[in-house]
């Protein structure tokens, strides 16, 4: 190639290198440009819509299993028993945050807004058991026993009330001659077992439950 | 050109090889073509100045329970129109001529259709499994696919 191209080549190389070095120098000299955050010491404040670990407020939760139906990876499992006053009582509510992908669909689907994202994101652990958050502190069986007692008591009360009503009706019939109505329905079976048919759901039963459910207190909303 | 005219042009040219135009619920509409004549239809679609379908947007296998199908979506950069070509295949030994001679873009997509549905593309430059390991049995996207229990001793 000609001498002119030869020199032009060298000149182009020198000029572009010099321009590049001017820019790297401009960053090199002014320390204001450092953008690194020292993570453990300086923590960045996540925005208030940040989707961290889930937290379910048990008192507000009505065990309607909407979150289970909506979750794409079936990482929520709950077990509940119908209480005396027909409302469902939560026996156990577990979220497996190892499977959860923090997509936020369950939070949107929760009618009572009891399920919310906290801003916590630090929960690495060596054993997988710790990655299953149990939101119901009380032991499942005690709850079931308690609810069963309440239901039985309510049923007994209802039965007496029914007998008393029948006795009253019996007298009313003697006076009016009307036939008596059927007895009360059988006590309700525990509905609300985890949504059938998704093999992946972590049922409370098969989760390795150490003696006395490890009540891992969920961190408050601000992590 | 409107899909109807494209269909008529093909019908005129290939007669019974071009079966019907699936029009109403299909955007873009599909022209159903018999498996044997796919290569000629493809070459005609690309070379005909009026149609000029020079770019194959997408080639995908579909499993319609009773039969398999290969859906080609074509687009013409020059004439700015689109058409779909559908080829129905039997479930047992689905095979049809490969179109990677007409559109080189088809090679990877055909390999994927072969990998996922087991549709053999005769005359393809290089028909191998693309996404799954070479010695994987079965074609996962088929509706009748059963998950294998183990793969080389690893629980699936």
């Amino acid at each position: 190639m000609g001498l002119k191209a030869y020199v032009a080549d060298i000149w182009d190389a020198v000029v572009t290198t010099a321009k590049g070095m001017r820019i790297t120098a401009s960053y090199g000299v002014n320390p204001k440009e450092e953008v690194t955050q020292q993570y453990p010491e300086e923590r960045r404040e996540p925005s208030e819509r940040f989707r961290g670990f889930l937290h379910n407020d048990i008192k507000a939760c009505t065990a309607c299993t909407m979150c289970i139906k909506v979750c794409p990876v079936d990482c929520i499992a709950l077990e509940s028993v119908r209480g005396a006053d027909k409302k469902m009582v939560l026996v156990s509510y577990d979220i497996n945050i190892a499977r959860c992908m923090y997509c936020g669909l369950c939070v949107e689907a929760c009618p009572t807004k009891s399920l919310k994202h906290t801003s916590g994101y630090e929960r690495a652990s060596v054993n997988r058991g710790e990655l299953i958050l149990h939101f119901v502190e009380e032991d499942g069986n005690e709850i079931k026993a308690r609810v069963a007692r309440q239901v039985a008591a309510a049923a007994a009360k209802a039965a007496e009330a029914a007998k008393a009503a029948e006795a009253a009706k019996a007298e009313a019939e003697k006076s009016a001659g009307v036939p008596s109505s059927g007895t009360k329905a059988a006590s309700p079976t525990p509905a609300g077992s985890p949504a059938p048919g998704n093999p992946g759901a972590v049922k409370a039963a098969d989760v390795p439950k150490p003696a006395g459910a490890a009540a891992t207190k969920e961190p408050e909303t601000k992590g | 050109m409107e899909p109807k005219d494209i269909f008529d042009a093909l019908k005129a040219r290939f007669g019974d090889a071009v079966a019907e135009l699936q029009g109403e619920a299909f955007r873009p509409p599909f022209v159903v073509v018999s498996p044997k004549s796919v290569l000629d239809v493809a070459r005609f679609l690309r070379d005909d100045p009026g149609l000029a379908f020079d770019s194959l947007m997408c080639l995908s296998g579909v499993d319609y329970k009773d039969r398999l199908a290969v859906a080609y979506h074509l687009h013409s950069l020059r004439a700015k129109h689109r058409i779909g070509i559908k080829v129905f295949l039997p479930r047992e030994a689905p095979s049809l001529p490969s179109v990677d001679a007409v559109w080189p873009a088809a090679n990877f997509m055909e390999r994927e259709a072969y990998d996922m549905y087991g549709i053999v593309f005769e005359g393809s430059k290089d028909l191998r499994r693309i996404l799954l390991p070479e010695d994987w049995e079965g074609h996962p996207l088929r509706k009748d696919y059963k998950y294998p229990e183990f793969y080389h001793g690893i629980k699936v």
């Binding site: 030869y6 080549d9 290198t17 590049g20 070095m21 790297t24 120098a25 960053y27 090199g28 953008v35 | -």
Partner: protein
């Protein structure tokens, strides 16, 4: 070395019982240990400086966890590398695999012998200084090729071959670019070259401003030296993004540390040569260091020399963090079609200049005119 040994014996008479040759041997070992200590500390400081400068340029902080401002980072790295498991690949050629790092380390460390640190501070003032450096640094090539071949890894093999091609073909321009300083000083010894740039003319005594050709040959030398020490525009032998890590891909533990230290050793040697030959070595402008008492004179000149050398190392790092990497054939084309013709033409220019103005540079001529 004998003079040192004799002066030591005179100072401590009881030593006279010891035969003279053991004394000189002892002195030699002592000097070698001192220079090795300096080399190792520089390699540590160099790596810290490299990462701090890189951090600064790339809008980040660089090491700041180990020790105040991260100064002890290189110690931490050193200890880590020593403690790390030292894996030798199964089918590797075990003997050559173990041998390679020593070649590379010796190649880069042996050049410290002739580095003119101060007025009297030089390991041994060889009268073939520059020629010796050229010869000894080519040991590195053997070490790198051995490493590439012995680690039974295709990437390492490619890295080794690239290193061989690059270092050998850049030896030529580096050598030729140093010749102007030798011509001006009239001797190969580095101390003489530095003395030829005595400080009386101040900054203009440097070879850099002797004549336009030497200035140009400084630039050529700097580019070729950047290639000689595998710095980024030319860091093909261990190109992370292409060859995974080039010839030292299978090395770990202390062996990798030796490659790592050798690289910084090379960097310092090249910077030292640049300062000695072009930037007036340990000469202090407008002041003759020899007049001071030996201790202070040496100390002052040592500081001046280290200052200039570190400035050169910084310049190299600055270029290193700006430019992308060349391809192998472009690397070769640049060496043989651009650098070598230019250095030869440049050498011709310097010799003609010296012939015409019988050895006086522009500053000297101006000084003569002003009648200093």
């Amino acid at each position: 070395m004998e003079t040192l040994a004799i002066s030591l014996v005179k100072a401590v008479p009881v030593l006279s019982a010891v035969p003279l040759w053991t004394m000189t041997l002892f002195v030699m070992v002592a000097v070698a240990v001192v220079v090795l200590a300096f080399a190792l500390t520089f390699e540590g400081v160099g790596s810290y400086m490299l990462r701090k400068v890189a951090g600064d340029i790339q809008a980040r902080i660089g090491p700041n966890r180990v020790g105040p401002y991260g100064i002890l980072q290189f110690l931490a790295d050193g200890v880590k590398l020593i403690l790390k498991e030292d894996i030798i690949p199964a089918k590797a050629d075990r003997f050559l695999f173990k041998l390679a790092p020593y070649f590379v380390f010796v190649g880069s460390f042996a050049a410290f012998v002739v580095v003119p640190f101060g007025v009297g501070l030089i390991a041994s003032d060889l009268n073939i200084g520059v020629y010796y450096v050229m010869a000894i640094t080519s040991l590195v090539v053997i070490g790198v090729m051995l490493a590439g071949w012995a680690s039974n890894n295709k990437w390492a093999l490619l890295g080794g071959m690239r290193a061989a091609a690059q270092i050998v073909s850049y030896e030529v321009p580096v050598g030729m670019a140093l010749m102007p300083a030798v011509l001006i000083a009239g001797s190969l010894s580095l101390q003489d070259i530095v003395r030829s740039q005595s400080g009386l003319f101040g900054v203009f005594g440097w070879n850099l401003f002797h004549n336009p050709f030497t200035f140009f040959s400084f630039l050529l030398y700097f580019t070729a030296a950047q290639a000689e020490t595998n710095q980024t525009p030319f860091d093909l032998p261990e190109a992370e993004s292409e060859l995974v890590s080039g010839y030292n891909v299978e090395y770990s533990g202390i062996r990798f540390a030796m490659f790592f230290m050798a690289e910084f050793g090379d960097m310092f040697v090249v910077a030292a040569l640049a300062t000695a030959c072009f930037l007036g070595g340990w000469n202090i402008p407008y002041f003759n260091a020899a007049t001071l008492p030996p201790l202070w004179g040496n100390l002052l000149s040592l500081c001046v020399f280290l200052g200039k050398a570190l400035a050169m190392v910084l310049l190299m790092m600055w270029v290193r963090w700006t430019l992308p990497r060349l391809r192998v054939d472009q690397l070769m084309r640049m060496a043989w079609k651009y650098l070598i013709p230019l250095t030869f033409f440049n050498l011709l220019g310097v010799s003609l200049w010296l012939l015409l103005f019988n050895g006086r540079g522009i500053p000297q001529m101006i000084a003569a005119v002003i009648g200093r």
